[in-house]
């Protein structure tokens, strides 16, 4: 635990006056799957490029596998597999040729490279007929798999995937993420994946970091995140009734008089009530007594989506306040 495989210290990148990444501190341990979450343009890709030594940081240091990524990128690239968000291949070569080319660039001897390439393709689930197909004819999902094969052929210690699930259909995403998880567990790989798809990240990551406007707002596993965020927060109940309520709702005052209820908002057939404790039964009883025809009662539970939304909202508000 004390020896992180990726260690970022005060990493900053400016493009002119624009700060793409601002004083990022992060450490990731060996064997962990870390999810870097953030909206588009949050600086995820820039951070990854700095870790790979493909972009020079304006300030700060990035240590990957014990090497300084800025001064010694070649050593880092030997040990780290990186899959960019838009994977492209040489279209005039077959998938196997593409893979063998990358293998050779990583110093795999020529007589071994073919065997290794076939092995890796099998590992990522590329079928027999796909191997000798030109990559121009590949579907997006197959390209992602081939991209993963390319990352794995060098037998890396760390793999960095930039938006690996972009543009694949839902079932493909699930399969792909399970594959990553399986490989990580089997080989003890450290995985860093960036995404703006929360559900997907939720499925596989041990730890996530939420990254907005170049700053890491919060990091930790999903449970701690939601606890920390919502400990003094409210419960929310959504009630749907059959008839529209008129505005202003005549019973609003009375609902507010119930114990623990903090806020009521009514709109159309929906009434949202937030309270500091779980008072759903009281609320339902109130509605029944008032002879509303209740169609549904929904208690909200918090997932990563809400955590994410929460952080974005508070960040937005901060900006407006400024």
């Amino acid at each position: 635990m004390d020896n992180p495989i990726i260690k970022l210290e005060g990493l900053t990148k400016c493009y002119g006056a624009f700060k793409a990444v601002n004083g990022l501190d992060l450490s990731i341990n060996k064997g962990e799957i870390f999810g870097l979450l953030g909206p588009n343009g949050a600086g995820k890709t820039t951070t990854i490029l700095m870790m790979m030594g493909l972009t020079e940081p304006t300030e700060g240091k990035a240590h990957v596998c014990g090497f300084n990524a800025t001064n010694d990128p070649i050593s880092v690239k030997r040990l780290v597999g990186y899959m960019p968000d838009s994977v492209g291949f040489y279209d005039n070569m077959t998938a196997l040729e593409n893979l063998m080319y990358i293998g050779e660039l990583n110093g795999i001897p020529r007589d071994e490279v073919k065997g290794r390439a076939l092995e890796t393709m099998e590992m990522v689930g590329l079928e027999e007929e796909a191997i000798h197909k030109k990559t121009a004819a590949y579907s997006r999902g197959m390209k992602q798999r081939l991209g993963l094969a390319e990352v794995l052929i060098k037998q890396p210690q760390v793999i960095i995937l930039d938006e690996p699930t972009l543009g694949i259909d839902p079932s493909g995403v699930k399969e792909f993420l399970q594959l990553i998880m399986k490989l990580s567990r089997e080989k003890g790989l450290t995985v860093l994946l960036s995404s703006h798809h929360l559900h997907q990240v939720q499925q596989v990551c041990d730890r996530v970091g939420i990254f907005v406007k170049g700053e890491l707002l919060v990091e930790g596993n999903i449970d701690t995140l939601s606890k920390r965020l919502f400990e003094e927060k409210t419960y929310e109940v959504n009630i749907t009734i059959e008839d529209d309520v008129k505005f202003p709702w005549k019973d609003e005052e009375e609902v507010l008089k119930l114990d623990f209820v903090q806020h009521v908002s009514a709109k159309g057939q929906n009434i949202a009530i937030s309270s500091s404790r779980d008072v759903t039964p009281d609320i339902v009883r109130f509605f029944v007594e008032k002879e509303y025809r209740v169609n549904g009662v929904q208690k909200k539970s918090y997932g990563l989506e809400d955590i994410y939304q929460k952080y974005f909202d508070s960040n937005l508000k901060k900006q407006i306040d400024q």
């Binding site: 490029l49 690239k77 005039n92 050779e104 660039l105 020529r110």
Partner: protein
């Protein structure tokens, strides 16, 4: 053969720890890619046809040319094969004056930007390969290709010539033809360097191709016209100035024209392939007096074209250095 390959791998230039260096893997892939591409096949056909056409015309007229008693170059049969024309087709080296740039441009115009567009650039850069190796491999692989193409063409010509005429080639001719090929390769290299440079500058392959073709057209067509118009405007009237001043003026015009790479190429090839060419500028009567009308030795011809050769190499290197500078500082993300 295996032993030979192993002995090759001894040299640390090509390998590191028994493995080929990443640079040579890049070069091999580039060459393979070019050879398989349609555009190279088309250019190859074009050049081979031109070569065949020009040489066969020359072959047909060879008898008359060699029989001319006044011509001091008549003994260089193989050089004659490269330079003789019957008026229907220009000789091969003149053809190459505009086919060469086309070859260079077509091999280099999408070198970097197509990789960037396809998303392969980031992928290659994420491998343990130095960034400059990629650029250098693009340049070197195309030059190897062009060099090999021209070299084999001229060897074919020499072989065919031997079979047809039965005249043994002289060492002087071999040297001249080899240096002609090297010169052509450097000339193509200049256009290659320029097109690679523009492929870094412009994100779209079509923009960089058009721009390079624009530069080429400017130098082949418009540059001469502009210089000639300027010369006419600024030329002193013939009877107002001394002969020396007139000479200087001519020299100046010629030097201005030599800023165009095609002019350098023409100067250099003419001198190399026609041993009787003694000077590239105007020569006074005093200088000509006492000169024996005989072909120059190879060394002397080389001395004459040395500045041209240096100019071409310098221009090529400048393009390459500039593209190097731009590429190393470039953000590679698309």
């Amino acid at each position: 053969m295996k032993a030979f390959m192993n002995s090759l791998e001894w040299s640390s230039f090509l390998t590191v720890e028994g493995q080929p260096k990443p640079f040579w893997i890049l070069v091999r892939k580039e060459i393979a890619g070019h050879i398989r591409s349609w555009r190279f096949v088309i250019l190859l056909v074009l050049i081979v046809l031109t070569f065949w056409g020009a040489t066969s015309v020359a072959m047909g007229n060879l008898r008359e040319v060699v029989a001319k008693t006044k011509d001091v170059d008549k003994l260089f049969v193989y050089l004659k094969m490269l330079t003789t024309t019957a008026g229907t087709l220009p000789p091969f080296h003149v053809f190459l004056n505009f086919l060469g740039p086309l070859l260079g441009i077509s091999l280099g115009f999408d070198a970097i930007n197509s990789e960037q567009q396809n998303g392969t650039l980031t992928r290659i850069m994420a491998q343990p390969v130095y960034r400059d190796n990629l650029l250098l491999s693009k340049f070197v692989s195309s030059l190897i290709l062009v060099g090999a193409l021209l070299f084999s063409l001229s060897l074919l010509m020499i072989g065919g010539g031997m079979v047809i005429t039965g005249v043994l080639i002289e060492i002087e001719e071999v040297l001249r033809i080899m240096s002609f090929i090297i010169l052509c390769t450097i000339y193509v290299g200049f256009w290659l360097g320029l097109s690679i440079l523009l492929s870094i500058v412009f994100k779209q392959a079509s923009t960089s191709a058009l721009t390079t073709i624009g530069v080429w057209l400017f130098f082949t067509v418009f540059y001469q016209i502009v210089i000639n118009i300027a010369a006419k405007t600024f030329a002193p009237a013939a009877n107002e100035v001394s002969q020396m001043e007139m000479l200087h003026f001519n020299e100046l015009i010629l030097n201005l024209l030599r800023l165009a790479p095609s002019q350098l190429y023409t100067d250099a090839t003419t001198t190399l392939l026609m041993p009787s060419v003694r000077s590239l500028g105007p020569v006074t009567m005093e200088q000509m007096a006492g000169a024996i009308p005989s072909p120059l030795p190879f060394r002397e011809s080389l001395m004459i074209v040395w500045p041209q050769l240096c100019g071409l190499i310098a221009a090529t290197l400048m393009c390459f250095a500039l593209s190097y500078y731009l590429f190393m500082r470039r953000e590679i993300r698309t």
